[in-house]
């Protein structure tokens, strides 16, 4: 029972972090049909911005968070403006390849400034163990869980309630109609990229607080792909459900079957989903008439 509780809590934390990162991928795909393979590198940007501001410059952590968010918004908007916008109208596969190139570029620029060695993160979230009956979870994981849940709730409200959120849904649904309603599609794309970068940066800070800051932080970006495929590339609830399922699947398979298996199982699941339900649990089935 203790093991089950332990694995469930760890799996939930990982899962909600996956969901947070997946939200960015889903947003960009929904609004512009582009799959962003550089999402993991946006985590790096967040982790290193925080590391620089708090760990190297020595600013207090609330200021560090503000700087991190500002850097993330800037990075998202710049990527959209400088890299994606000139590619409007190009074949979608070229755009996807460009995001892969972008991921190498961001990684290289960061190692240019900070080196490749793993460094201790200025742990501003306490890591004291918290007991849940027989299970023990470090406090930073609980913080990550709580923050991820709060942020996802905030974004769901954002899409339901705010003019910007509704404009984004409109663009995802029908671009021509959105244009004729006075919605600027360029602005919506910029907002989508900025949000994607911000959620990734926050996830990056949370992950770095748990595992330390190094290039490895971006690996989690790759692990999010089974999540978005399972949930459906264009579904925000799908990202949350998919995140929790994949997170739990990892810890259960690693904890009950064989340690190390958690590295493989999500990708086995990815292949199975693609074979059985290629649009995912909540994805919209696209029937293209040619």
């Amino acid at each position: 029972m203790a093991l089950f509780l332990q694995l469930t809590l760890t799996g939930l934390t990982n899962g909600m972090l996956y969901a947070l990162i997946a939200l960015g991928i889903v947003l960009i795909f929904k609004s512009s049909d582009v799959i962003n393979f550089a999402q993991g590198e946006f985590l790096l940007i967040g982790a290193y911005a925080m590391f620089w501001a708090v760990g190297q410059v020595g600013l207090p952590w609330p200021v560090g968070i503000l700087i991190t968010l500002a850097v993330a918004v800037l990075a998202g908007v710049l990527v959209e403006r400088l890299v994606l916008r000139p590619l409007i109208g190009e074949p979608i596969i070229s755009v996807i390849m460009v995001t892969i190139g972008l991921s190498s570029l961001i990684r290289a620029i960061i190692s240019l400034f900070f080196g490749t060695a793993s460094q201790p993160f200025p742990n501003f979230i306490p890591r004291t163990p918290v007991a849940f009956g027989p299970a023990v979870v470090p406090a930073d994981r609980l913080w990550a869980l709580g923050l991820a849940v709060a942020l996802l709730a905030l974004f769901i409200l954002f899409f339901r309630r705010t003019n910007e959120g509704i404009a984004m849904r409109a663009v995802a649904d029908d671009q021509q109609a959105a244009l004729s309603m006075g919605i600027s599609i360029q602005r919506v794309f910029a907002i989508a990229w900025a949000i994607a970068a911000v959620v990734a940066a926050i996830a990056g800070v949370l992950v770095a607080n748990i595992v330390g800051v190094s290039g490895d932080v971006s690996r989690i970006g790759l692990r999010v792909f089974p999540v978005v495929i399972l949930g459906g590339l264009d579904s925000i609830p799908g990202a949350i459900v998919g995140g929790v399922i994949i997170g739990l699947l990892e810890t259960y398979s690693g904890g009950y079957l064989k340690p190390g298996l958690e590295q493989v199982v999500p990708f086995v699941a990815l292949i199975l989903i693609l074979m059985v339900k290629p649009y995912g649990l909540f994805g919209q089935t696209r029937i293209e008439r040619v």
């Binding site: 910007e164 649904d173 959105a178 600027s184």
Partner: protein, 271 residues
């Protein structure tokens, strides 16, 4: 804030509203529009007719900014004057030009009500934080636009379907919802691309009645493309005829109907 009524124009009845001047549009070697000029006046219904491929939709797309013509200008007067050929589509919508599409372009996954509320989007002023809290100004704004949208729902007689997702509605009703969404923008000028295409006689009659209501009771100027000559002759104040991208006739419906150039464009020439 939103003033009452459906008409967003500041002009008086009969004043010059839209000036299309020597517009040329080509795609590669195909000339879609050749030196087209026309005028539209506040409070009138202007019909654009012509055989298939004459350039009617291209002209409408130039006005709403989806296409940018290579030459010519399109001046829109509403207090200030703007050249529409230099503006992106969303900016043109903000000037008060709303449109419907030949192939329905609704937000299919949203309800009728949400589609209409989206039509008010350009008028909404509240920010992200206010909307998240949904208190005070944000709430007042929502209530105000909801009232505006309810007026449109009453006008178009779509009360029963307000909460249905648009994708599930019959074709004729979708066309009506699209008209409603364009009206929600509170347009100074309404562009309708074949509002009655593919409808049966009864649906056409309803649609013609709605268009006349919007024009006569609310004073909204309309430019429409339509193939049904009976409807065009009945409801329009003036008619412009295009053929192979060029304007071949313009005038009152009766004049245009009798014009030899128009007859030969539609029926071919006797040799």
């Amino acid at each position: 804030m939103l003033a009452a009524g459906l008409n967003g124009s500041h002009l008086r009845e009969g004043e010059l509203q839209l000036q299309v001047q020597n517009v040329n549009l080509s795609f590669g070697g195909v000339n879609a529009l050749l030196d087209v000029s026309l005028h539209a006046y506040q409070g009138q219904i202007l019909a654009i007719i012509g055989p298939n491929g004459a350039g009617k939709t291209s002209l409408l797309n130039c006005i709403s900014g989806l296409y940018h013509p290579q030459a010519g200008s399109i001046l829109f007067h509403n207090g200030a004057t703007a050249d529409l050929t230099k503006l992106p589509p969303h900016a043109i919508a903000r000037l008060g030009i709303a449109r419907s599409f030949q192939n329905i372009e609704l937000f299919r996954r949203m309800t009728v009500l949400d589609n209409l509320m989206l039509g008010c989007h350009v008028h909404m002023k509240t920010g992200v934080l206010e909307n998240l809290v949904y208190w005070g100004r944000s709430q007042r704004e929502e209530v105000e636009f909801r009232r505006h949208v309810e007026d449109i729902i009453d006008l178009l007689e779509i009360e029963a379907i307000r909460r249905k997702p648009v994708g599930a509605l019959a074709y004729g009703l979708q066309k009506r919802v699209e008209l409603g969404r364009a009206l929600a923008l509170r347009p100074a000028l309404l562009l309708l691309d074949e509002p009655m295409a593919g409808m049966n006689a009864e649906e056409k009659e309803d649609m013609a009645r709605f268009i006349l209501d919007v024009n006569e009771e609310h004073g909204v100027s309309i430019v429409l493309i339509e193939h049904d000559m009976g409807v065009v002759m009945d409801i329009s104040d003036r008619v412009v005829v295009l053929d192979f991208g060029a304007k071949i006739a313009e005038g009152a419906p009766a004049e245009v109907r009798a014009d030899p150039a128009v007859i030969s464009a539609y029926l071919g020439q006797e040799r």
